[in-house]
Symmetry: none
Subunit: 239 residues, 2 copies
DNA sequence: TACAATTGTGATGGGTTCTTAATCAAAAAG
DNA sequence: CTTTTTGATTAAGAACCCATCACAATTGTA
């Protein structure tokens, strides 16, 4: 059953692969549209509304990277799932300079594809529901502006690094919810990131030194022993 | 709590390779099981629970493709990582008719193997987690919030340690079901945990002291003599 | 390239939690 | 009723976890 009424657009010049994807995804109840070259893709994207774009990189006409950039100029929300044959291209995609949301390396399994599509749609839907507008967040004297990526504490502008900001924003958008270090790594660093979970400690530590009056008695970012961290709930902060 | 600490099954007839994999993956902290022919593999898969199958294609008895198909008839979630010597076989695997999740061509680097295993396990876990809704649980005056990992009794916030919380959550999610101490160790502590089942007593004891009015006459966590413990069923609690 | 800023890793100390063992109490078995 | 088995309780040491700092590696930028 499909909860998003707009179709998924498959941009893939190999008709066999395109067909394979179409069959599988339509089995899962998604509406689909196919196109086979980059220029056609751009035309369609400009004149129609899609719920997700499945985008091959190697394409006749405009290539996947260009299409990706084009989409982001018009629509910052539309989820893009890139398909790529070469692992070298992954860095480019994930460097995010093109603004893709996720990627799959060919050959990929159909199960994986459907899982990613499902996950992406769900994620975007969740974002659209909860943070429809990226409103400024207020917790007592702490103000967070997601759009400008700025944080003020008692009127003072804080200099947060990008990881620090990402962490703070995630926490602040889900007050009270406990996150494990691994979850934080998956969410902020990306699930393919391979590093030590205690790296999170360092970032939390640095973040606390910037936003907490007394880092030993944190007001905003609480430690959940044996689990990870959570942001204080509004009533804990407002005082 | 780690719910995916079931062992990885290595299905590989070359004992040297199998051993190499076993050593490397056990270094990374995974529980492992080995088997050396296809028929044995199917028997094991049917009667045990695994977190992942490492599957060679060329096997005595039933070959890897058949095993793959067999698994997919029984379990559509269980991740399968195929090992193959010939690049021609890749098309078959990724032609997707068999439902493998990923593959490695021999010879492969051990680093790559562990990376793929880790990635697959994480991905599947993420999908399984996002599938389940984490609703707040209510039992009379006892409220359990899985997401925030918070427990309230008559409006009072309780300070539970992480093991205590995991135990309570497991019980509360399956009211009435009796768990042996060993089951609890397997589920909460993980399949590979090697400790005394006695340890569970201590935790239940401390947990009861926190959530029960009278620990000698527990309302929520009942003792099942000669077996273990169970959570009270709703009608026992609501009073 | 070199420099600065940011991020990741390693090491340490202190505190919390967990595990174990010992003992006592209660239930089942003989 | 006595013995045996199983569960509850307590306390202490072990193991683990977190905060912190220093430094290394990486990244961004001039």
């Amino acid at each position: 059953m499909n909860t998003t009424e707009h179709p998924i657009l498959i941009v893939e010049d190999d008709e066999d692969i395109s067909e394979l994807i179409r069959i599988q995804l339509s089995d899962s109840g998604y509406a689909l549209e196919q196109c086979y070259d980059g220029n056609d893709a751009i035309k369609r994207i400009d004149s129609n509304t899609y719920s997700l774009i499945l985008l091959d990189i190697m394409l006749p006409g405009t290539d996947g990277f260009e299409i990706c950039k084009h989409i982001r100029q018009v629509d910052s929300q539309l989820p893009i799932l890139m398909l790529t044959a070469k692992s070298e291209e992954i860095d480019k995609i994930m460097g995010l300079e093109f603004g893709a949301d996720d990627y799959l390396t060919k050959p990929f399994s159909i199960r994986e594809l459907t899982a990613r599509v499902k996950a992406l749609l769900r994620r975007v839907q969740a974002i659209q529901q909860s943070d429809q507008v990226q409103e400024e967040l207020h917790f007592g004297e702490l103000h967070i502006n997601p759009e400008m990526r700025k944080v003020e504490l008692e009127g003072e502008l804080l200099q947060l690094t990008s990881k620090e900001f990402d962490l703070l924003l995630l926490f602040a958008q889900h007050p009270g919810r406990a996150y494990s270090r691994q979850e934080l790594l998956d969410i902020i660093w990306g699930y393919q990131y391979d590093g030590y979970s205690h790296t999170v400690n360092s970032h939390i530590n640095r973040l606390r030194n910037k936003i907490e009056k007394d880092a030993a008695e944190p007001t905003f970012i609480k430690t959940v022993w044996g689990v990870g961290y959570r942001f204080a709930e509004p009533n804990e902060v407002l005082s």
